[in-house]
Amino acid sequence: MSLSHYLVVSAALFLIGLFGALTRRNTIGILMSIELIFNAANLNLVAFNRYLHFDALHGNVITLFVMGIAAAEAVVGLALLMAIYRNLNTIYAEDFNLLKG
């Protein structure tokens, strides 16, 4: 298998995530889509490390950090979501219009 195979899979995963983030009405869905985007990036990192810098492990380490960040992001995001849900009684993104001009 060549590098481009993995890259194509990664790109597809990214675009699916982007599509989800743009179209899901449910905020939980948006968060899930963002997790997909993170995974696409991780996949990219690992693939490049494997194919272009096979004698080092920096890509893997950075992937670990990204995972940590993603976990933190998910935890905080979901906590915020719960807080919003308690206050506004909705989880649909189009109802969050406090920033309306």
């Binding site: 790109a11 096979f54 935890v75």
Partner: protein, 167 residues
């Protein structure tokens, strides 16, 4: 053999991902997310990143996905099952994705036919050494961020009563 593994894993991953963004029921979406993340974990394994494979399973599949499931069940409502789950701008989103994919394709094309040269070997020990030598500072920072996220999550999820209890 390698190709069968790759294509099957890719197919599982992408189909599950599509399920995540298209399922009407959020609970199903969350389950699909778990499947997609496991698929990515499989791809990591295929790439020889054994430690990351384990990490992906532990952090994502048993951490994040389960957390999402909890939230879905906490914030979900009966009416959600009958409401439309995508907004009206999806054709535009599709167009944007298509254009970006075109761009990606142009970037990916040069790497076609770049094979790997070595066999993968166990990387856990090496990663551990790196984390405690070259990456010691980012490692500590990540731990700080995680603690901050934990505190923040507790603060937010305690809700209104927390503000009242606060001195």
């Amino acid at each position: 053999m390698e190709q069968i593994v790759f294509y099957s894993l890719s197919a599982v991953t992408l189909i599950a991902a599509l399920g995540v963004v298209t399922m009407r029921n959020v609970l199903h979406s969350a389950l699909m997310l778990g499947v997609a993340l496991m698929g990515v974990a499989g791809l990591f394994a295929a790439l020889g990143a054994d430690f990351l494979f384990a990490g992906q399973i532990v952090i994502y599949v048993t951490g994040v996905a389960v957390l999402v499931l909890f939230v879905v069940m906490l914030a979900g409502r009966e009416s959600d099952l009958h409401a439309r789950q995508t907004n009206e701008k999806w054709p535009l989103a599709v167009a944007i994705c298509a254009v970006i994919f075109f761009g990606f394709w142009r970037c990916i094309a040069p790497y076609a036919g770049t094979p790997t040269r070595t066999q993968p070997e166990p990387s856990t020990r090496a990663i551990g050494k790196l984390l405690l030598s070259d990456y010691a500072l980012p490692f500590e920072l990540i731990s700080l961020i995680l603690i901050a996220a934990m505190i923040g999550a507790i603060l937010f999820s305690r809700g209104g009563s927390a503000a009242e209890d606060a001195p």
